[in-house]
Symmetry: C2
Subunit: 341 residues, 2 copies
Amino acid sequence: MQNRQIVLAKRPVGMVDESTTSLVVAERPVCGPDEALIKVGLLSVDPTIRTWMNDAPGYLPPIAVGEVIRAGGAGIVVESNTARFAVGDVVVGMTNWQEWAIADDTHRFAVVPRGLGLDLPTVMNVLGTTGLTAYFGLMEVGQFKPGDVVVVSGAAGATGSVAGQIAKANGAGKVVGVAGGPEKCAEVVDVYGFDECLDYREPHLARRIHEACPDGVDVYFDNVGGEILDAVLANIAMHARIIVCGAISQYNAMERPKGIANTSMLIMRRGRMQGFIVFDFASRYAEAQLELAAMVMDGTIKHKEHLVHGLEHAPDALNLLFTGGNHGKTLVVVDESVRLD
Amino acid sequence: MQNRQIVLAKRPVGMVDESTTSLVVAERPVCGPDEALIKVGLLSVDPTIRTWMNDAPGYLPPIAVGEVIRAGGAGIVVESNTARFAVGDVVVGMTNWQEWAIADDTHRFAVVPRGLGLDLPTVMNVLGTTGLTAYFGLMEVGQFKPGDVVVVSGAAGATGSVAGQIAKANGAGKVVGVAGGPEKCAEVVDVYGFDECLDYREPHLARRIHEACPDGVDVYFDNVGGEILDAVLANIAMHARIIVCGAISQYNAMERPKGIANTSMLIMRRGRMQGFIVFDFASRYAEAQLELAAMVMDGTIKHKEHLVHGLEHAPDALNLLFTGGNHGKTLVVVDESVRLD
């Protein structure tokens, strides 16, 4: 009747290391009135988790030292005192980094329909916050329209790869990825079907963006921030929209980042930079999920999941996002028996 | 029959100096068919002129070496071969830095109505591009609404002082200026009626913005860019709008600026940064000018004009904008006889 959990032991400086988290063994939670007990199967590994570990203002409060690491995940209902969930339902929500979770009024979970014919890792990737972030970022924040020249950073990543494919499927003029290293760049073009992919580790990125997009960039889906953002800013087209989705280049920064210098291009080109959090669109998830599910089923959206086995490896899985060691959506398998199929 | 002109002799590095421009004596232009000859009276001195001197992409092409310095101004029609202008009309438009200008189809001028009871420097300030920039920036780009907490940089400057007063007159929750030095800060509060003004030359600006705006900044009217922009970004409220109007801190930069580091606050607070050029709103100038004229006449908008006498002093007048040596809208008086009253 145990519940293994990973808690924040010490706020990290730079990358998460062995001193950042501790594996603790708590008692399995008891399912109270109006609650359901969930056996956690999969954890979603997202860069934003790293931001929650800092004692800094964010869109959610920081994770307290001693608290279980906050994270989305999926699980199966094994006990239920609420009509909202039946035993055997597969659910997604904030499971956190642990083996057992409680669904109550503050920890809301949604039931995943079984009939879609998609497996759980795919649902966690394309129909989860990752895919939803790509969808609402591009379509709503970026006000994407057919013909737009689109640049996506973190293009081999879970959000970036989906964002580029949605743009391509909806008639983009051109979709150019930015990724780290020749292997990732090849994947972005060959697997995800971008028109081109630029390696940010090579010099003269701003010049290469200009060569790839000689008439300027209409929409930039920014997962990275920092120097890549600055290089794109130097190349924006009139009325460009920059979707400020993430700043993964900054999350482990140990000193003040170099900063972006080309903001006056927003004046010259009447550009807009806008930040968002996918939760803002929660009331519209279903419409996007329906569209995304169709695009997965007909093969329009290609996707990869990178599975890391064992709750205890969740901290290493998080670091993969920053070292670029992952391919596709990173998920931690806590219990293999939790499945949709 | 001469026309004294100031031409670009050499592209400046840093501040404009005596090697940047030359005073040349050309022949007075001849008024052709469908044209009018304008005797220039006043020149509008705007930070953007400095950006046109660089060989860099902008919203207008760079001024070519050897070309007359591009600038807005006002003059009087002394000869006319077009029904659009009558001799004696006072007109505003791109006069450039010279004594005589031609109004033709590519150099469009607008007639200033005499009946307003405002003098020409006031019209050039509040009803000119300066005031129009403040108006459209705040209301359209910034989507200002009553109750908003507004911060304005360059608050003692021509655009900033008007922007803050429009916000105040339209029910802002609070209007906080940012300016350089105690004298300017006092002027912003005592003359222009801002609630508070912060001296950016003193340390800990971000912390002082937090103290002045503990619930965050809803609208930031940015004339300055750089470190002040970064300090405001650290303090934006949810759904904040940052109006990217100018980046005067960067226009004379001789090395890469430090850059702004707090762009991820746009994600946390779902903020928006948007650049614009007042020309985008040209079709709506009249409605804004009517409103601005009323606010000047009833005393809602206080304004100052800083007159520099003599065409030959135009380069020094431009530098005043960057040294902070001016008070209010800087204008060069080329010919005192050009008046509205």
